[in-house]
Every structure is written in C-alpha cells, then in structure tokens.
Amino acid sequence: MTKKIIKTLLILVCLLFVISLERTIGLPLLFVFLTFRFLAVTKSYTQLLLFVVLSLALSTAFQMSMTFVMLAIAVATLIMRYFKVEQSVSQVLTASIVSLAIVLFAGIEFHPLALGYFILVWLVLLCSAMMPQITKRKKLLS
C-alpha cells in the first residue's frame, strides 16, 4: 500500500515537471501520451477521476477550455478503443494529433526548441514501442 502511494506521488511529481516543461515550449505531446496510457490501464471510477484531474492540469497549463481538452482526450480514447489500437506506435500518432490540435486551438506560440522536442519524444516513444516487438522476434528466432 505504502509502495503504491509512493509510486503514485512520484508519477504525479514527474507529470508536474513534464507539463511544466511542455507548457514552456508549447507542445503537450508526452503529457497527452502518458494520459492515454494511464486511462487505458485504470478501472472505471479511477479512470474518470484521473481523466478529470489530467484534463484540468492540461487546460490550466495551456490556459484553454477544460471542456474542450476533456472532449479531445475522450474522443481520441474512444477512437482508440473502437479500432482496438493497442500498439504504442499508433498511440504516439494519436497523441501527436491531439497535442497539435490543442496547440492550434489554444493559439500557442511554438518555442524554437519545440520541433526538436517533438522529434526527440517521437524517437524515444517509437524506440520504447518497438523494443518489445524486437525482443519477441529474437526469442522466436532463437
């Protein structure tokens, strides 16, 4: 129980830094991706609470309508569920589309570093998504 609480607190602190960094450069890509991951692995009531809290954090940081943020995340989550998107690569793609929509609707100015950050996050997420498939293939070959 204590371990779980510590783990949750660490995740929240980590998320605070992520959103603060993304607020500074104007691209909430990693935060949106992590939101999708959390929503996918939590049960209904916890999921709803998490959904509201993460949407509130995102709307506060980017100073935009919370209802819009909630709607964007909910629609993306529903689409992912409908098409049974379980691959991380597709989730990264959806997170990119949602975060770009947020940036466009919030009228945010990109910091010159935002493009570099976008590429970096994409590479890291793609590598982490491909890693289980590569190890699986290696195991099958051996």
């Binding site: 830094f17 959103i19 450069i25 506060t60 980017f62 209802t67 379980e86 989730q91 100015e109």
Partner: protein, 260 residues
C-alpha cells in the same frame, strides 16, 4: 497494453457517467467557477515553471551556440568592422555630450538624471509568453516589456502573481507608431511570425538595415529601440509600403526582462 474488458452494461453506465461529468464541468466552466481553481494551480506551477524555463533557455542558448559556431569567424570579422565604426562614432558623441552638458550648465538647467521606474521580471513561459510578476507588484495592462533597452512586447493580461505578454511578432491588441532613423513613419504589428511595419507612404524609400524605434504615443515613450529593417515587402499594387523588422534580441533569447 491490456484494456479492461467491459460488458454492455458497463459501457452504457460509463458513457452516461462521462456525459454527466461533461455537463457538470461545462456548467462549472461557463459560470466561471473553475477560474479560481486554475489560478491557484498556476500559482503552484510557478516555481516548477521557473526551473523548466531556465532549463529551456539554457538548452536553447547551447543549441544556438552550436548552430552559430560555423558562421562565427565571418560574424566576428563583421562585428570587428562594425565595432571600429561605432568606436569612431562614440568618440564624436562624447564630444557632443560634453558640449551639451556645458551648455546645460550655462543655461542653468537641471542635469539630474531621472531614475527610470522599471521592475525586473523573470520569464516563466515562452509558449504563452508569461512573466512571474502581476498585480501584486503593480503591473498594469499596456506596460512595456523590455530587455537591454530593446522593446520586446506589451503586457496584455495581469493576474495576481503573473502576467501575460504579447510579443511584437504577435502584436494585435495595440498599434505601435514607429519611425526609422531617416524619419519614415509607420504602424508596427505582428503577423504571428514576423514583426511588420505597414502604412509607410509610397513616395519614401525605406532602406534595409535602418534602425526602427518608437515614435511616441500614449503610454509608449519615444525613441525606444525595436530593431532594424530586415527586408521590404514588395506589393506593386498596394497603396502603401510594408517592411519586416528583425530584432537583435527577442523574447526567446531573454530570461529576465524589465517592465516599464
């Protein structure tokens, strides 16, 4: 990743629950009850924002150094040449200043320098340009945001502990009257990417490289440096001319600014 398997009843129940939450949040937001909560959350985010903005600015500076390394030798030669010209001009100006001072003494005028009323602020957000002082430090809407005597933007929204800034490349809320060093006047605004001077009469020739400064209007003193003319926008059918201004120092290059 494994999703939790849901029955039809679960799906209907969760959809109804989500719709209720949407309605409640929408209602709360529309009557403005979310604003105090969001304002207090922004206050909590401020210390972390300071750290991340300093990290971002140092990374940006480092990237800029790497990018400019290739061009640095050419740039240094150019700067040395410009420095020599400026040194010569400075010596002339010093002579003029001495003459001016002695004339003031002769005329009995007060030579006490009036202290500038400026407040120093740290940038906490580059994407939605924000500084870390607000109404608690008497910041008001319309005040000028400057760094190293260069105008960078205008304060547009003031909260208790922070204020939003409209940088010149995104200036829409106010029209700034500006002039070049040869006396050509125009109106400065931003098109979200560039700083543009419009309404320059057709019969005058604006030169690339000319310094641009404020003309002086209500709440904006005259002769505040903005930048130099980078290029002219050539539209033969337009009744007036336009030009693009480049700034040697932008909001993104600064970590600390002055509010005047």
């Amino acid at each position: 990743m494994k999703y939790y398997v849901q029955t039809k009843y679960d799906i209907v129940r969760s959809t109804v629950l989500y719709l209720c939450v949407f309605a409640v949040i929408g209602l709360i937001e529309s009557i403005g009850l979310l604003r105090p909560l969001q304002a207090s959350m922004l206050g909590m985010l401020a210390p972390v924002s300071k750290i991340t903005s300093s990290v971002v600015s140092s990374v940006y500076w480092q990237v800029g150094v790497w990018q400019q390394m290739r061009l640095s030798s050419i740039r240094v030669t150019e700067l040395e040449r410009e420095n020599a010209v400026l040194q010569a001009q400075l010596s002339q100006l010093e002579t003029v200043k001495k003459e001016n001072d002695s004339l003031k003494v002769l005329m009995g005028a007060r030579t006490d320098a009036v202290a500038k009323k400026s407040t120093v602020a740290t940038i906490t957000n580059y994407a939605l340009p924000t500084i870390d002082i607000g109404s608690d430090q008497n910041v008001k809407e319309g005040q000028l945001v400057m760094s190293q005597d260069t105008l960078l933007g205008i304060v547009t929204k003031v909260y208790e502990q922070q204020s939003e800034v409209e940088i010149l490349s995104a200036l829409h809320s106010k029209s700034l009257l500006v002039k070049t060093e040869s006396g050509i006047q125009g109106i400065l605004h931003g098109d979200n990417k560039r700083i543009v001077i419009t309404d320059i009469p057709r019969d005058v020739e604006i030169k690339v490289g000319e310094r641009v400064s404020t003309y002086g209007q209500q709440d904006v003193p005259a002769n505040i440096f903005i930048g130099t003319v980078a290029s002219k926008i050539d539209r033969p059918t337009a009744p007036v001319q336009s030009a693009i201004v480049s700034q040697p120092l932008t909001f993104f290059d600064s970590t600390v600014v002055e509010i005047e």
